[in-house]
Amino acid sequence: MGKIHLPWKGSKIKEKGMKTLFFLSAISAIIVIFSIIFFLFRDAYPIFQKKGIVDFLIGMRWYPTGQPPLYGAFPLIVDTLLVTLGAMLIAIPLSIGSAIFISEIATPRIKAIIKPAIELLAGIPSVVFGFFGLIVLTTWLQITFDVPTGESWLAGSILLGVMAIPTITSVAEDAISAVPREYKEGSLAIGATRWQTISKIVVPSAMSGITAAIILGIGRAIGETMAVMMVCGNPTYGLIPNPITNVFAPIKTLTATLGIEMGEVATGSDHYSALFGLALILLIITLIVNILATIILGRLKERQRSGSKKQPIISFELGRKIKLSFYLFIGIIIVIILLMAVGIFPTVGILALIAVIYYAMKKISIKIKQKIAFSMISLTIIIVIIFLGIILAYIVTNGVGALSWEFIATGPSNLGRSGGIFPAIIGTLYLVAGAIAISLPLGVGAAIFLHEYTREGIVTKIIRAGADLLNGTPSIVFGLFGFAFFVLYLKFGFSLLAGQITLAFMILPTIIRTTEEALKSVPQSLREGSYALGATKWQTIRKVVLPPAAPGILTGAILGIGRAAGETAPILFTAVVFSDFIPSSVLQPVNALPYHLFTLATSIPGSKQNQAGTALVLLLLVIGIYLIAILLRNRFRKKMKW
């Protein structure tokens, strides 16, 4: 790559120009992430200066309109971490079970159905999850557990858990599938059962990949806005549950606070600045999480490349000790939590029960163990499918009644209670078209520069890190940045253009990554052949590399479109308005499907049928887009056997 220099055939200026162009698009990701940090910091600075950064972080009450106003982010931070923890307790077992099922247990036929199904789960927009949570989940929790309100930590964790499942499952499944065949064959050859092979060989070998998957899932959950905002209750000052294990306590996360308060805050006030302070905290938390994941995944790749001949960093004995003390630590924490939650006697009972189960497990034969393990794993996948089924079934059965030609083709009347959603559909199409028109050239250019023009080195590392960080940035942070930069600083106002650029930045990393994958799949020999015939670099890229990579790039673009169509938070403060207005210029605001649904579900009583109808249209649109991407990718994979 980039190592072969042949006499230029075309004009040198053109070659240089193309290279510069690609370089510029490659650094765009870095420029964007730095401007996000800069603008958040710029607008957050007044509050840090006024109240002190420490007081801001450890203050126990969030009450910006009180007298005196209180800006304590601590409960919001704790609640954000708690809801993420709960989500992970739900998502980790389910997604790792699903990943093991898909890669090790499922027959090819079942795998061919289940894998896309879980990938489709990733396509359900978060506002649809929130809509389902608000109407169905919170009511169900309230009645089932006989609590005053279902809007709680638990509701948020369940939704976030389900939303994190596709992310964790797909990365973990890749990691498990990447375990060399010889490992498995070796294990089976010396007489281990399938379950022993999976639990003792395959999963431990894939552990770092699984860890990275979990960390990515955590990043996804921490940054999620719409669903959390709709189901967690949002106690006014931010409230740490009391006792801390009370999962029915309402909580208020960083993202929900931003989502709720940003819309009505007076620009330039202390409160405005404090909200940017929260966004900065949120961004820093997610950046740390994502950097961790990147480092772990990077190590994994290095190890795969250098083979496994290297001595392990820690010796077997030390590893054992670390593992033991880790288990001990977890055990102690569990006991403490139990003591706090249920008191001494039940705790002793539960511990005894665990001990009995543990010894019973030792006694039973490995065959039965395998059966138990496999049925538990199958159970996880069944639970995931049931979740998916319930959500889809609810939205389809309730929404299908609203669906008609009028609903699609006319504007809303009576504030969306009747009439259709035509302006919202058009608005979404406008937003998405603009976003892809901006991000596709940038992203493809960046990927071409990374893969075709440079050797792996410090430059590519920095650019990749920029793209990774951008990928991990919560969507609401994009929204705040868009508001501060495009709407206010560049004076675009609430406009189509501001929304399009904000969305474009959000999907840029997806496009860079998928394009790079596509370029990687084009064999080096093709390039060399082209050079040998005397073609220049740009000619080679244009005529030889890009055509076979096009389907892969298209898949990336479609995934980006799907993501942009379903997102609410980035356009919430930059572009959208709830009206039947169809813009005639890019400087006018628009309506969009996810925002229309959000407004109907949270602000317009008596619009039940149109809520479900809008949710269904949005779901069909986004899932349809994802389905095209998945089908295209599968076709492409089959065809591209070089």
Partner: protein, 281 residues
């Protein structure tokens, strides 16, 4: 692996159980406080007028619109909330305050105690299409829309007179979600009078509307609250376009109360009264 996952399941189970036990048997009896977010004009009014600027109870759950408050109250047996009069329907029960029923007549008569003005702000004195639109909303025709939407109309209005005026161009209105329904309908009717004029009405909230109008990105800012200190001195002119009563709503299943005094209401939102049973005695 298996043992760890079992342990996790057991922990989850017990914390669910313990959460349940703590709250068992309180459904419909313990009060669930619902209110608006801290930047809402409605909340600021409620806080000033009912609470006397005393802090809300920490267990107040925030919703970001009137509709969300109404919806939550309608599906939560123990809930109480405050919304604009226009949002009261059969799914919730409006309480009498100081023994006065919450309705438009009582707000007009001045007997219903919790009411406020709704505003439109312009940068400097309104001129041209901006002026005509505000005049239209303040006219008898405009106030008919106000009544229709469940808000409280201004008194002594006169008919709007186009008297051969022609308006063209674009008029941008943005801001409070409380005022939005009125403006949205008024804009539709206004466009019939002046076919060459484009009127765009957008939400975003009182704060967003005020900042838009002071920066010149909107011609009119809708607001359900007066200007805050940080917004003053920007040359904004205030126009009262309607009144709004604030109804106190509970779930229809609530059999404990039919009315409250202002003092009781304050105690509830302060968190001093936390159980409906304490009120029915």
């Amino acid at each position: 692996m298996l043992v760890i996952s079992l342990a996790v399941i057991i922990i989850l189970g017990t914390s669910l159980f313990s959460g349940c036990v703590q709250q068992q048997g309180q459904q419909g009896e313990s009060i669930v406080l619902i209110g608006r977010d801290s930047t809402s004009g409605t909340r600021e009014f409620f806080w000033t007028f009912v609470m006397g600027k005393a802090n809300f109870s920490a267990s107040l759950l925030e919703k970001n619109s009137n509709g969300a408050v109404q919806q939550t109250v309608s599906q939560t047996p123990g809930a109480i909330g405050y919304v604009g009069l226009g949002y009261v329907d059969s799914t919730v029960k409006a309480l009498k305050i100081n023994n006065i029923t919450a309705n438009v007549q009582n707000v007009l008569a001045g007997t219903y105690p919790i009411s406020r003005d709704l505003y439109m702000f312009t940068k400097g004195n309104a001129t041209g299409a901006t002026k005509e639109f505000i005049l239209y909303i303040q006219s008898t025709e405009g106030q008919a829309i106000v009544t229709q939407e469940g808000y409280v109309p201004l008194q002594n209005t006169s008919h709007y007179n186009t008297s051969g005026k022609t308006l063209s161009g674009t008029l941008t209105v943005s801001g409070s979600t409380t005022v939005l329904p009125i403006t949205d309908k008024a804009a539709t009717a206004f466009k019939v009078l002046y076919p060459d004029l484009t009127v765009t009405v957008t939400g975003g909230g009182s704060g967003a509307g005020i900042s838009a109008v002071s920066q010149g990105t909107a011609d009119i800012g809708m607001s359900s609250r007066d200007l805050q200190s940080s917004e003053q001195g920007k040359g904004l002119v205030k126009h009262v376009i309607a009144k709004d009563g604030i109804a106190i709503i509970v779930n229809p299943q609530n059999t404990y109360v039919t009315g409250l005094t202002l003092a009781q209401l304050k105690s509830i939102y302060l968190g001093e009264i936390t159980n409906w049973k304490d009120l029915s005695k």
